[in-house]
């Protein structure tokens, strides 16, 4: 099997999948040329992520990476997410094959965008 047990487990049972009503921050990222897409919704309390939801369109690793990342970022400071690296997302699924590294890129990009959106809203559009 080319995917880790952690990746397959998240793919089979994605956590936090779906929409969020009235989120504090929304961000999406599409991987150019591939069409894989991730969209994250954040609920923020006292500068920290209290709830995360996501939607994805893409291959199995993208779905799994979004699920694993959603668990990792809950409780973290929103500002911290601005510098979220794809490597951290990849680590959350115990690695990705070379031809699926874009799964981590698209998930990390969407989470950074959602964090940026949350901060912009919080600061009245100035960031």
């Amino acid at each position: 099997m080319r995917y880790s047990p952690a990746l397959l487990e998240h793919f089979l049972n994605p956590r936090n999948a779906g929409l969020m009503r009235e989120p504090d921050g929304v961000g999406a990222e599409e991987y150019e040329g591939c069409g894989d897409l991730a969209r994250f919704f954040l609920r923020v309390r006292d500068g920290r992520v209290s709830e995360v939801r996501f939607q994805t369109y893409g291959c199995g690793p993208t779905i799994a990476a979004a699920s694993a990342a959603s668990e990792r970022v809950r409780g973290r400071a929103v500002e911290e997410l601005l510098s979220l690296k794809p490597q951290e997302v990849e680590d959350a699924v115990d690695g990705l094959p070379d031809d699926r590294k874009h799964a981590a890129d698209v998930v990390a990009g969407a989470l950074r965008a959602a964090a940026l959106d949350a901060l912009r809203r919080q600061r009245g559009g100035v960031c």
Partner: protein
């Protein structure tokens, strides 16, 4: 995972036990080179001759018109390039939905100065024989059309196209890799001049195939060396493989008609079951003129590779219509040629049934597809596809 269901018979098939038994002595007992004059060589030659006669009888052709090759890709390359090179220059006609073995051979011939017309297909994947007729030019030197498409299973009107080719005196090559041993092929009635076929799609071994060349067809070889296969394909013959091909053909002659009826019924059971349970699913390919075991089904808005992975985790082997490689994903060129909208084409999954497929297997797949697609759709952004 307990249950395993293989629905990828268009990709490859398991070797039939009778085929394997027939092949085994040719690895270590009758191992000689069939070109050798001694007894060891003669034993191998006898195995080769028997296989050639079996294939010839099955196709209703002369044994000496058959050339054994290393695979369907080589057969297609020999058929298309051999025809073109024998004429030096000119124009070829093929279709946009051919196997890459034909398409890329044609593209390469274009780079060598040949002209090629790539015909389109209708929404079911059918080539219009009238379009073939209209594409013929005074310098047309060959027509290459597949008998049935491997992805969607649509069967082409090769007899009508063959009649047009014959009327215009143009040699007609048919890639029958997906139909040989599954459907009846009458090369005389369909006015076919060259026919590619393969062993591993019909419960024979991989790495062996053939090209039938009608006697009198002007051809040159693509591979040079010794004088094997009547100087049409150099290289020591893959004796165990060819023996396996011959046996596989003999078994198909016995089993294919009953199997066709049985597998067609299972194929339709699969589609009906999925259609009843999964919303936004469509069948790609011709509704009736289709390979007995092929059901290409699109699930709108999901990515086919995710469906393949989800089913793989339930022990089911199917294949994706689109493939994501190194971060780029392309919908199937066959579905694009058929005009299938992108949000459907990206979610196309090919199920191809075979001799071992049972009704219980089909029901298990139906039961597994529904939750797999439902879960994928639950995580899908509206309008993302």
């Amino acid at each position: 995972m307990s249950r395993r269901v293989y629905l990828d018979h268009n990709a490859s098939t398991p070797v039939h036990p009778e085929v394997l038994a027939e092949m085994l002595p040719y690895f270590s007992e009758s191992f000689g080179n069939p070109s050798s004059v001694h007894g060891f060589g003669r034993e191998a030659r006898a195995g080769l001759d028997t296989a050639r006669e079996r294939v010839a009888r099955f196709l209703g052709v002369a044994p000496e018109e058959l050339v054994f090759t290393s695979g369907g890709t080589e057969s297609d390359n020999l058929g298309v390039k051999g025809l073109a090179w024998a004429r030096g220059r000119g124009h070829l006609i093929t279709s946009k939905i051919e196997h890459h073995a034909v398409l890329r051979a044609c593209q390469w011939l274009e780079s060598q100065g040949f002209a090629v017309t790539y015909l389109g297909v209708d929404e079911h994947g059918v080539i219009d024989p009238d379009e073939v007729k209209r594409a013929i030019r005074p310098d047309t030197i060959g027509i290459s059309i597949m008998h049935a498409n491997s992805e969607v299973g649509t069967i082409q009107p090769v007899a009508a196209i063959g009649a047009i080719a014959r009327e215009h005196g143009v040699p007609f090559h048919v890639d029958a890799v997906q139909t040989f041993g599954k459907l009846d092929i009458d090369v005389a009635a369909a006015h076919i001049d060259l026919l590619s076929f393969s062993a591993h799609k019909i419960y024979g071994p991989k790495g062996v195939a053939g090209l039938w060349i009608r006697k009198g067809t002007k051809m040159v070889s693509v591979q040079h060396g010794g004088e094997h296969e009547r100087r049409r394909r150099a290289g020591t013959e893959n004796v165990p493989g060819i023996v396996g091909l011959g046996k596989a053909v003999e078994v198909r002659g016995r089993e294919m008609h009953d199997e066709r009826r049985r597998v067609t019924a299972l194929r339709d059971r699969l589609w009906e079951g999925i259609r009843a349970r999964v919303p936004d699913a469509r069948l790609n390919g011709h509704p009736t003129e289709r390979l007995p075991g092929t059901a290409n089904i699109s699930y709108r808005g999901v990515e086919s590779e995710s469906v393949v992975l989800g089913l793989d985790l339930k022990g089911i082997g199917v294949s994706a219509g689109s493939a994501c490689t190194s971060g780029s994903v392309e919908p199937s060129y066959v579905l694009v040629a058929m005009g299938v909208p992108l949000d459907w084409a990206m979610g196309a999954v090919r199920h191809s049934l075979g001799r071992s497929t049972t009704a219980e297997d089909v029901d298990y797949v139906i039961e597994s597809v529904e939750p797999t697609v439902r879960k994928l759709r639950a995580a899908m952004p509206v309008g993302a596809a």
